[in-house]
Subunit: 342 residues, 4 copies
């Protein structure tokens, strides 16, 4: 068993809580393969060596298989429970055609929580997220009551939101105030150099009012910020197989005038990265780390080498001067203005 | 004195209140002329004849002069106070360089309310609106406390918002719940056939949660929906004088690809209007009246004839079938989807 | 009448309110003379020219005479009420041997408020402070209820504390929460380069929790920070007359080892001031302005020239670099540490 | 099994609760030895014979070993659970480099509580204390929510504070009021004849407002009040080994002018003790027992004889007249004044 050693990792409070998470964290995967357990274990160990203490998954990832593998790996590694932080996310269910098999009804939240814990072989997760808002009619009171009960039952220490609008997050706080329930403490939002409006502007008052925490996903904008699509879609990459409908949709997005403009920016970022002696991906992570409203960036990877490479972002972030940031802002030219957005 | 007669006007509750407002109402003007008092009186009388019972103004309109003239006209006409509904709006102050001369601080709200009432020669208005959100740092608790006190002091019966985001309106409700204060009951939003997203999608949950009321302004999209700019900018119209910077800005908006597409839609609407034997403007008002979340449409005009013409929209609205609406929707092709917008 | 012009003054929100006060403000005097009215008017006008919009007094200053003169001068000057901010402070009463003639009982607060407003010839002050905590037995509930009623009666817009402990301020907030009353929004504390513990350490959590505002008094530590006592007590200065018991007490304070060490620091500050081309007093004010938890510094003076000189502190503050501050901190060597103080 | 017999012990309510604790209680030890279990059992039995019913430990004492031994001894002795009161304290964790391994985050409190109970082999403790305030950023709402849940989960009957400032204790009460949670009921403070300010003055309003309880530690001021350091540091005593840095630090404290003055007082107290036929240590305990705001004094000792000797303090306290107290106060000359302290 590798004992936990924070080394030179940076830890931040997850929003207005006393829970400390490493600013770079490790996220679960969407597709399962024969050696998922072996690879996951290796990636966990590599991340652990760098001081990563936060691991994120979801019921829907690989239809529950991701949680199952996470559970086995945690057990196998035998780490002290207080040394690491685990989160999962409920909403999508999986493979269930039943009308109550997904969403944020009390029924799905209570049943889904128990199923997740069973797969994870844990008594509790540290954070449980509502993986999406439920706009099909479930009242917010039901949602906040269910999460409050999950916490009071000892099955989670905190609850959060994922991809909710600022209106919905504020409404959840309103309902918590009204009924004396427990409000959510963090959002798991998409945020990257190329997608900033919601994170930086729409959520701005939430940081002011609640010191709302954030566990960022897709920090590399689906891989575009690695620069690997700067000159087309190499075979073997995510967008390499043009026959898949998902790939088609994404390619057409990147080939639109807006998409091309973004790729142009990525190319320019490359020269800043080179100056700093790092990859565009590392620069993209480092830039987000400069934002104090980022609690942690969830990096996903199923290769040990990539885990290692991601961790270098921490060094880059420490080297990033105000001047670098200014140059990057000039290239991006997409800094949102809270006062004007509305 | 003309006694009030509802005739064939339609009255709707202003949101979740017991206050009934005519679905077509009369709004104050921004510029004062020598005969403002005379014209305003004539317009009031014309509207009154059609059953209009709601008159809207603001401290900032013509730097207080609009309120002053409204006050004189109401006094002159001698109508029974319970027959009509008056609203004003606080935020902008006027002519004051003083740091506390505008905004939503308790100081400006209390002082501004008293000044408005003095100009209006009234003990109270029916509704006072926050003419804008104050994003420069005044806490929502202060805003809601001040409006609550204004109501408890008997200076207004209700308070509302104008051009607030749904987040801000929900935050005001949260604060009212938290401290046992009085929440706002209606929004004064911009809404027209050509600008629908905020009204129909962003505010959608507010209608569900609070039956939030609305007093619509700019229902003709700055005049474009009259069709008078279908073929350029005639002299004597609002956009006729190309030397004014405001006009220049607006013209360039209408001459952009998006602007041209809108004017194209207005042209197509004209044929629907002709079929119904009405003007495009009347059709534009009638279409909004079909939306049950519209409490009232504020029509502004400083010509008696135009007041008369606006009132015809009520007849058009009553003739508008589902089939007409469907045709209009096809032409507009801009129906927002709440579920997708976020 | 001199119209208000903010010029290059800086305005800050008074804590977590929407009320903006000039960072340098003008405070009332403790002793009345024959030409108090004339001098006060001249000082008001001088301050006004520099953009000062906040004027502070107290019932006890010159046994009510300060309020009376302030009232006359405001009336005489005819300034627009929304352009300026007035505060007064209740607690000490004056000249009253009656058991209920002072303190924070509801009786004294309600009676004292009305008397102050009468002397000031105003309907309301912007802020009313509790000039001291009342530790003789009046329950906090009574205090918070009385100030809440004063505000709801329209006699003040906000209430604050003066020389309260952080415990007492937190207790007032607790009581306000418990009974749905209005909490205090700012403290009027003694704060200077030579007296920092309470302001910077004891109150620290209040800035975090409530963004509590501050209207600083005695920023020159009773004159010592002017440097005029660096070499004894010149005749004509506050401590010049050795026959007064107050002077004796103060002299012995400054002649103690601690007092001498402080005077030594003041001498060293003089060289920093000279480098910046300003007086020690101006440097002392400028240093406080660098603290973002200072809402405003109340400068007291009954000489027009001194008002003028005080205003220069604003320029000094704008010139003060991090390096200057660092040098000053080395000289002062009294920076309090919140974490260690308790 | 020795049946419980209150004999002539005095029991006091622990603050504003229905829980009765013996005024002299027994506290856990910081260092473990081979015969810790045997000695602890003997001391427990001796205390028990005198009617002691309250036993205090902490997760950090001897890195969890103190709890483990307490657990074994309680099991071994087989006393009826309702006859005794056990408290533990959470905050410091032990041996964990992990960012979440200590402090007052919900994570550490929930995990720490479970670990403590496992070591103690108990389903619940009577009182759990927050061993320190957490000033590194954990919000009070999180702390009070976690302790409330620990109580509602049946893992503790009450919660308390240790070495918190009066501000922090009041803030905890505020948060409990605000969210309908359970407030702390007692403080575990350092208090002795030589350290009185916080206990007697700072906490004074807490006794008035909440009848706040106290479980005093270090009543002999680290042994100085035994008088054994009156003439230097004998070998074999805590401060006997001059090579230890802790000892050096403490020695230099006692050798400062203030330290010497204190030892002088201890010498004078000896004559009062002799007059009463007791030791200085017994007098020191008896003097504290005269303070009705003391709920219990935690006496620590790992020698049966010393337990016996401590118990004599109860007799001394009963003999202590007002005149004795007056004499002691003259010697101590350090009675704090609540009204002047702030």
């Amino acid at each position: 068993m590798t004992e936990f050693d924070p080394k030179d990792m940076e830890y931040r409070f997850l929003g207005n809580t006393g829970l400390r998470v490493s600013v770079l964290s490790y996220g679960g995967w969407l597709t399962v393969t024969d050696d998922s357990e072996k690879i996951t274990k290796e990636c966990f160990e590599e991340a652990w060596k760098h001081g990563v203490n936060f691991f994120d998954t979801a019921e829907v990832y690989a239809n529950g298989e991701c949680e199952t593998v996470f559970g086995k790996v945690f057990k196998d590694l035998g780490w002290t429970r207080s040394d690491y932080v685990v989160s999962t996310k409920l909403y999508f269910g999986f493979g269930e055609k039943s009308p109550n098999g997904r969403g944020l009804s009390r029924k799905h939240l209570m049943e889904g929580m128990d199923k997740s814990l069973k797969r994870l072989q844990m008594d509790y997760v540290d954070i449980v997220f509502a993986h999406r808002p439920d706009r099909e009619g479930v009242p917010m009171e039901e949602v906040v009551r269910a999460f409050t009960q999950i916490i009071q039952d000892g099955k989670a220490l905190y609850w959060g939101t994922s991809e909710w609008s600022s209106f919905e997050i504020e409404h959840a706080h309103h309902i918590a105030t009204k009924f004396g329930l427990i409000p959510p403490i963090a959002e798991q939002p998409e945020y990257s150099m190329l997608k900033r409006d919601r994170f930086e502007a729409e959520y701005y008052p939430l940081y002011q009012l609640y010191k709302y925490g954030t566990t960022v996903w897709s920090p590399l904008a689906g891989g575009i910020l690695t620069g690997k699509y700067n000159d087309g879609y190499p075979a073997g990459t995510r967008y390499g197989d043009a026959s898949s409908p998902v790939v088609k949709r994404n390619r057409s997005k990147w080939e639109s005038p807006e998409g091309k403009a973004m790729i142009e920016k990525v190319k320019q970022l490359k020269s800043v990265a080179e100056e700093l002696g790092c990859t565009t991906a590392q620069l993209a992570l480092a830039f987000l780390l400069k934002n104090p409203n980022v609690s942690t960036i969830i990096t996903g990877s199923t290769k040990v080498d990539q885990v290692k490479e991601n961790m270098v972002a921490l060094q880059v972030y420490r080297k990033l001067t105000d001047e670098h940031v200014e140059n990057i802002e000039k290239i991006l030219n997409n800094k949102p203005d809270y006062l004007k957005l509305y």
